[in-house]
């Protein structure tokens, strides 16, 4: 299990980050004493550090250098400053990456995962894999595979994203806006009609696994994955 040390003075943000990281099986600790960051770091011995720039007493750059003098673990800055110079400063002081506030969980998570993978070998230690199971239907988000019982089917990237969102909220309605937002790619945007096409494809894939009425359309609101099919 990976240990992540969070150096951030905003309690709300720390709590949210910790809750989210715990969901993925990481162990976390937040700094208590902003004058003894290095001591706490050494006591906890984390594999990765999330570090804010604006801190009481000393700034994040200072602590980054301090940590660098004793460790080579990945250090990710989380800061409200979005200037090029701030990022350069962070990297020059020994950071590995830079996330600007406000950020998405997904971006933070992707960066954490990629740095852990690079530093400690691919998928070593566990806790980074993510799969979802709803009534015997299992989605492997990383490998784009959907399985039920002994059957398995490959998904496209977009189909996996749609199923990911629907399965996370199975039993409740997921709005069309939400799905559009999730599958909007930097390369190509997705409009209403394209979403319809994707939803049809997802239905077909579900049908191929024997789930016929699993994905309901709720008029004017969105879609709902019922989850009340028989466990396969």
């Amino acid at each position: 299990m990976f240990k992540i040390f969070i150096i951030e003075d905003d309690k709300g943000l720390v709590t949210l980050l910790q809750d989210y990281l715990h969901k993925f099986g990481y162990e976390t600790r937040a700094v208590h004493d902003f004058e003894a960051v290095r001591t706490e770091f050494e006591a906890f011995a984390p594999q990765l550090v999330l570090l804010d720039v604006n801190l009481p007493k000393f700034d994040g750059y200072y602590w980054c250098r301090q940590i660098r003098s004793v460790s080579t673990c990945p250090i990710l800055f989380i800061s409200a400053r979005d200037g090029k110079m701030d990022q350069v400063m962070a990297l020059e002081n020994g950071a590995d990456d830079y996330i600007t506030k406000p950020f998405d969980y997904e971006i933070a998570m992707a960066k954490i995962k990629s740095h852990l993978r690079r530093a400690y070998g691919s998928y070593a230690g566990g806790g980074t894999e993510r799969s979802l199971t709803v009534s015997g239907l299992m989605l492997d988000v990383e490998r784009l595979i959907l399985t039920r019982g002994g059957d398995r089917i490959d998904l496209s990237h977009t189909e996996a994203k749609i199923l990911d969102e629907l399965m996370q909220k199975s039993g409740t309605i997921v709005t069309r806006d939400r799905l559009l937002e999730k599958i909007w790619d930097t390369e190509a945007f997705v409009d209403d009609n394209t979403l319809n096409v994707y939803v049809t494809r997802v239905r077909k894939k579900l049908a191929a696994l024997g789930i016929m009425e699993g994905l309901q359309t709720v008029r004017g609101q969105g879609y709902r994955l019922t989850g009340n099919w028989e466990e396969g």
Binding site: A80, P102, I173, D177, L180, W184
Partner: protein, 324 residues
Amino acid sequence: MKLFMREQTPLIIVYLAQLMMITLVYRLDGGSGVTVSLYAALLSTILLLGYLAYRYLANRTFYERLMTVPASLEDSGGPAQNTPLAASLRMLLAQQFRLYQNDLHNYRHKLEEHIHFINQWVHGMKTPLSVIHLIIQDKDGSPFTAIGDELDRLKKGLETVLYTARLDTFEHDFYVERLDLGAVVRSVTSEQKRLFIRKRVFPVISVESGISITSDEKWLSFVLTQLITNALRYTVEEGKFVHFHGYLQEQGRAVLEVRDEGVGIPPGDLPRVFDPYFTGVNGRSFQESTGMGLYLVKQICGKLEHEVEITSEVGKGTTVRIVF
């Protein structure tokens, strides 16, 4: 020379009057003849001319200095010659210059502090924003959508404040590099996806591949975000598009056209849209218009040395063209 003559005219008049008076007194006294008087007048006039010539030569640069308008603050060094008048003027000017400089320095300092404060403040606001953003991120449904929308507005507002404050210190804060135009456009449109989805107005991107431009990514993204915000704000109907068209001009310059299918800008307002705080007819009928968006776009493009043009037709839409 002209100033000198004007300055000395009263002296010459007084001198002439004096000369005449003295001659008259001597004449009435019956002392001397006409020739003697004339001779005396000639001698004394030569003396005066000598004096005037000396005065002029001694103070020439001083007079020249008085006649020239200073081009800048540093220009008021004072006359070079060392006559008492010139020296005291130089001292006065120097003194005044120092006072002004002090004052100016104070104001500059205050302005810097103010900008620093704004910077700190905006960044301080971003943490609570991130917290709210993270809290609602996994939630779906109308109250959270509404909170998300408001959050986006707050974020945009803060960005505008930040960029307006930074505009004056632009030189310290930009980093020019080669950028792929298509990539920049796609990344900005993708960042604004919530807004597009909410308005049911979608981008159409047709940027010729391989167009690279020289610009600052952050400032350019801010400019594009402003244009997108405007385009979406003034597009009322759903199902319309915002077209991003990037191409190379005949002279080899890259052009990005952002064309919306919105309400358009009345011809009367068009020449003034780049003025600060100008909102025009549309600004009054649509909320949230600050009149700062296009002003900032123009200013930033100016600093980045991009040209920006706008054309519009009421009811058909507006096109903003950036020439790199």
